[in-house]
């Protein structure tokens, strides 16, 4: 497995911000939007063939033109407050197939990414993902943090609209951040690097939906803007959020009224205690979600 560099940027204690696809693509959308808006420059990539099966072949007139693999690129940007390295992975590598990274390959990729980060003097790593929460879809998603040290707990509490995961009911005793957005933090901590995961909230019933959730990406992005002391343009995310909101509302309209009634209570209770739908309601939504999405599409989406 090889990392190819196109250049050797001079960076001063950069921070690594890494993103892979996951639930609602919350993390990757936030990280990639940030990278794009500050115009970070590509300076290297991880050769993909040991990790991924090619996603596309181009054959024209009997000649094999090329194979296309998922991208695994490094970018950098020097900002006034901090130097940054980005890593964007288009797919999560997995030794045994599946959407989320696991096994030897995932571990290998996490190490390669951190090798590059450490080569440039990085001491802190951010990843981003989704936190499935009992929130109402009309509420502003918060950012939930999981960190590698007590000191960082205090720091992230000061981030805007951010809470520690232990502040969410039923999550205080621990859990797992699946895939590389989680594994990278584990490997980083093992190497003695500071690591922080910023997860945008997504309503529990939407976590399995085949939709992005830009509202949560925006929340994460607002935190990054605050950390980096920059202002960002949210127009594109807002446009996308509006479109997704329309789809979600249409689906929601089809919920049975008694479930809706209970679900609406989520708006009036503090998010940390919010539940307000029964286990049976949750089961009903889970069982009908595909059907509701299909129906939404047939109705003109």
């Amino acid at each position: 497995m090889v990392v190819r560099f196109y250049g050797e940027p001079e960076l001063k204690k950069p921070v690594l911000i890494a993103g892979w696809p996951g639930i609602g693509n919350i993390g990757i959308a936030a990280v990639d939007t940030l990278r794009e808006q500050i115009q970070a420059e590509e300076f290297g990539k991880i050769e993909p063939w040991g990790f991924f099966y090619p996603k596309k072949v181009s054959i024209k007139g009997g000649l094999l033109r090329d194979l296309e693999f998922p991208i695994n690129n490094f970018y950098y940007k020097r900002l006034e407050r901090k130097d940054l390295i980005f890593f964007i992975g288009e797919e999560q590598p997995s030794s045994q197939g599946g959407f989320y990274a696991k096994g030897e390959k995932a571990y290998e990729m996490a190490n390669l990414v951190l090798d590059v980060a450490e080569k440039f003097g990085c001491q802190r790593v951010y990843t981003s993902g989704a936190c499935v929460s009992p929130i109402h879809h009309r509420m502003k998603p918060r950012v939930i943090s999981v960190v590698s040290s007590q000191k960082l707990k205090e720091e992230t509490k000061k981030y805007p609209n951010t809470i520690l995961i232990s502040e969410i009911e039923e999550r205080g005793n621990g859990g797992t951040i699946t895939g590389l957005n989680g594994l990278l933090l584990t490997v980083a901590k093992k190497r003695g690097l500071e690591s922080i995961c910023l997860m945008g909230e997504i309503p529990d019933w939407l976590s399995g939906a085949p939709l992005p959730y830009p509202e949560a990406s925006k929340s994460v992005l607002e935190v990054f803007a605050d950390i980096l002391g920059i202002s960002l343009d949210f127009t594109e995310l807002d446009k996308m959020a509006l479109k997704i909101e329309g789809i979600i509302e249409e689906i929601y309209e089809k919920f049975p009224s008694e479930i809706k009634e209970r679900y609406e209570q989520r708006k009036f209770v503090a998010q940390a205690e919010s539940k307000a739908i029964t286990e049976e309601d949750a089961k009903w939504i889970k069982e009908h979600i595909d059907e509701l999405f299909k129906k939404g599409k047939e109705d003109g989406e």
Partner: protein, 286 residues
């Protein structure tokens, strides 16, 4: 390349042989496996090496098909007199890059292979009575030029790559010329065998490498298969109509396609106990 990925049983001397690869997973019309088996049998192929399955296949318990235990196999044979190597394998489930690199390493460094041919059937919406074509993908334009005159046709495609395309791409990176041969297989023969397409692929190899293969037994298989389908058409008007639609170059609805594929599959699964209907006109003329 770690030698522990493969095992060489017999070290032989070669002079720029060609490697012919057939995959036995999702083997449309059984083209890949039948062509390799035919070559090995008729040319006296000797098993010389294998890629070890560990790490490439899920070796959890025993897989079985038609009551038989299935073992993932990836074997290399040498048909030394004819300057050919044949490789028949299941498509690796994991670590495809490592697996294909091992195949090419074995071929290039241990056997001095200069040319690569992969053979797989491609599902086509044609009738079984239509002449088959071989669609091709080359990894180098100069190799394509060298094979002009064999009646091969160019393929154009953009989408998920087959394992053969991946192998071809890796071969090009190593300087090995390669071509994927994709004989057309009528969709309703895809799950069974298509002796006509098998014969077409073998005829190409026969010409290309002057193998002097006798393909008569395949002619007999073709006749037997056509007769079975002809009998089905006699008994089933709907099937007859569907095949006729295809013969006219028209397309069938999804349900009709499924029905045709199912009926033909069933009829070809039973051994034929009847004598061929000598008086029946060949179905090409219906």
């Amino acid at each position: 390349m770690e030698n522990k990925l493969f095992e060489i049983y017999k070290a032989l001397q070669f002079h720029s042989p060609s490697l012919i690869v057939g995959w036995q997973t999702h083997d449309v019309g059984k083209i890949g496996s039948r062509v390799i088996d035919f070559l090995n049998e008729k040319l006296g192929g000797q098993e010389i090496a294998e890629i070890k399955p560990s790490g490439f296949f899920s070796l959890e318990g025993a897989m079985f098909e038609n009551d038989l235990i299935q073992v993932p196999e990836s074997k290399l044979w040498a048909c030394q007199k004819n300057g050919l190597l044949t490789f028949k394998s299941d498509v690796p489930e994991y670590e495809q890059y490592k697996f294909l690199s091992a195949v090419l390493h074995l071929a290039q460094y241990h056997c001095k292979v200069k040319e690569l041919y992969t053979i797989s059937g491609t599902v086509s919406l044609i009738a079984h009575t239509a002449p088959r074509r071989i669609l091709t993908v080359f990894n180098k334009p100069e190799f394509r030029k060298r094979l002009q005159g064999y009646g091969l046709e160019d393929l154009t495609w953009e989408g998920p790559p087959a394992i053969s395309s991946y192998l071809l791409w890796l071969a090009r990176r190593r300087g090995i010329s390669g071509v994927s041969l994709w004989p057309q297989v009528p969709f309703y023969l895809a799950a069974k065998e298509d002796p006509e397409a098998i014969k077409l692929a073998l005829s190409f190899l026969n010409r290309r490498f002057n193998l002097a293969l006798d393909l008569t037994e395949l002619d007999e298989e073709i006749v037997r298969q056509k007769e079975k389908i002809a009998r089905l058409r006699d008994e089933n008007r709907e099937i007859n109509r569907s095949i006729r639609v295809l013969q006219m170059g028209l397309s069938l609805g999804e349900e009709e396609q499924m029905k045709l594929a199912r009926e033909v599959y069933e009829v070809l699964s039973y051994p034929c106990h009847c004598e061929p209907k000598a008086k029946q006109p060949p179905d090409e003329y219906r």
